[in-house]
Symmetry: C2
Subunit: 240 residues, 2 copies
């Protein structure tokens, strides 16, 4: 078995960010498994998208096909019960000025990272990879770099392990994430992420825009769209 | 509503340690809720014991009756799926020399603390109380003081809160825990903890020993019994 430092577990939701992280891990490590969390989130469509991405991404590079190991889905319906968030209930989604958006499940990423670490310790995977980002972030404290670093400390002390939590998107905005995807897997990966990943809070997949599927109005769509527009404009300018 | 610093959530399993912590919290805070975790553990008898303790403990002091709020049980069967532990499977329980006992669910307390924090944040409870102890502990890294302090940091950063995790038993051995119970609630609490709490890994409640129910042979029973014997002997010596 390879060195655990060459083996990674990617927290993979089926969204743009975690799909980019999956490609990043497939490019960087010898062996990669994926984990998803089912916690009664309203956009179950994301769970279908993640399956499609996992089916299609190995075709992009032969070494990615060799490196991609099994996917795991962990049932965290208890998170649904413990939290009042709009992502898990049918309340209105909004982002009050200066406040956390109502989609916030407090501590969600802490739970995900802990479960991922438990799974990783069983499978000798020494690297945890997540799409947390504090550049475009919507004020989620569990996406902050400080939080992730404190969590790495708590997990390593509490499980007597030497995990490293890698967050390749931490300091990138959404335009830079599109650029990273293009760098990792060229037009094929860009197209895969554009068409197959899901971001929209309302689970809208009725119409394919140039930036992907989605309602185009919720905070997640707005962020994805504006990142795509910035990325495309820069690309057009750079073209000869 | 009282100051969150006067309101506590006790991680209450139904064992000796967490029952002592519950009494400690009832003595110290204005308002106390409890949370238990059901993760397919083999000693479901512990879940029945916790109900009995919650029914009986308010009778010990009138202020305890006023302070005790609702109990919550969180379904964490996903922990069962993620972990290979003997507490959740039917494998043999043993404590290899120098190694972790096979009852170890790696990261269990990290998951419990994170769920407890999510619940506490919903109910404006600013103190989390747990029976973690590194004195008699069986090598569980998630019971260490370092781990708990790192976890407090990760939870507060990741949830934008000001929780304090209180671990009143951290530096006590089991004899000192029996003594603490006597100090908090006199003979009535001591008797309640002796008869109603559960420790035995095998779920044995066939015979009431002077130290409580249990097989008397598993590592948990051995620890409980020897703590009781030391406590009783000291008591006998101290008597006039």
């Amino acid at each position: 078995m390879t060195d655990p430092r060459r083996r990674a577990l990617v927290l993979f939701s089926g969204g743009q960010d975690s799909a980019t992280c999956l490609a990043w891990a497939l490019e960087r490590f010898d062996y990669v498994e994926t984990v998803g969390f089912d916690y009664g989130q309203r956009h179950l469509v994301e769970m279908a998208c993640r399956q499609r991405v996992l089916e299609l991404i190995p075709a992009i590079k032969p070494e990615w096909r060799r490196r991609l190991g099994p996917d795991h889905v962990s049932d965290l319906t208890a998170l649904h019960a413990a939290s009042p968030s709009a992502l898990t209930r049918n309340t209105e989604i909004s982002a009050p000025a200066g406040g956390l958006p109502t989609t916030f499940v407090p501590g969600r990423n802490l739970v995900f990272l802990t479960f991922a670490a438990i799974m990783a310790s069983q499978h000798a995977l020494g690297r945890l990879v997540g799409g947390m980002c504090e550049t475009d972030y919507s004020g989620y404290p569990d996406c902050r770099d400080d939080t992730i670093k404190a969590m790495q400390l708590a997990l390593n002390l509490g499980m007597n392990q030497r995990f490293v939590i890698e967050t390749p998107l931490m300091w990138l905005d959404k335009a830079a994430s599109w650029h990273l995807a293009a760098t990792l897997g060229g037009p094929a990966l860009l197209e895969l992420i554009r068409v197959e990943t899901h971001t929209c809070y309302h689970g809208d997949r009725s119409h394919l825009h140039d930036w992907g599927y989605g309602c185009g109005r919720c905070p997640a769509c707005t962020l994805r769209m504006s990142g795509w527009n910035t990325y495309s404009a820069a690309l057009a300018t750079a073209a000869p």
